[in-house]
Assembly symmetry: C2
Homo-oligomer: 134 residues x 2
Amino acid sequence: MEQIPILKMGDCLLVTIQVDMHDRLAMTLQDDLTSRIAETRARGVVIDISSLEVVDSFIGRILANIAAMARVLDAETVVVGMRPAVAITLVELGLSLPGVRTALNVERGMDLIRRDAHPEAAGPAESSSGRSQG
Amino acid sequence: MEQIPILKMGDCLLVTIQVDMHDRLAMTLQDDLTSRIAETRARGVVIDISSLEVVDSFIGRILANIAAMARVLDAETVVVGMRPAVAITLVELGLSLPGVRTALNVERGMDLIRRDAHPEAAGPAESSSGRSQG
């Protein structure tokens, strides 16, 4: 089962990282994801990392690479579900996840992508959203 | 990382099974899922099994148990993403996944749950859906 499934949800692709990443798996994920973006014309990629107890520089580079590749294909990448402890460690280590946007959870991440793709109509995922946008 | 993440998406909970199931992991998943259903008042559970190359009687029983538990908590369970080869094997083995509904992919599974929860307003996931409902 050395393949991370990519789920299509409307305009977005959703990836849940549950297993330990290694080089080959990361390469497979990048290949699969770029193919699926091209195939499905997705506007965004949401990567859930709520299972990860550690985000080191290797994982950080993978996420940044995926975001850069997706951007070339005109898709936005949002990393969601980061644990509070992981956020603390990231900042303490000075890792900044360049070019990667983050959101609290999948719903907010998708909302972010939907809002970027269709700025005139904010998504209905959160009933109280969009007020600060005026 | 011996825990399968459960993602909340609107009224649904989404579980992607990527790792080999064993007894303890299945128990943890059942515990987590029932707690999350109670906590989030979810109307449905979507379980993606597109990573699974084999669905044997053990996995079948886990899925049936989860569906039964969710039903007691008033949530519908839909298993999605089954590979064609898995479907063939299931039928050949005579396994019928009792009490478990299936759908082709996550979008259709969520649509199914949304339609059950709000029968008057079909979900917008598929533009051509709802015509056969009249």
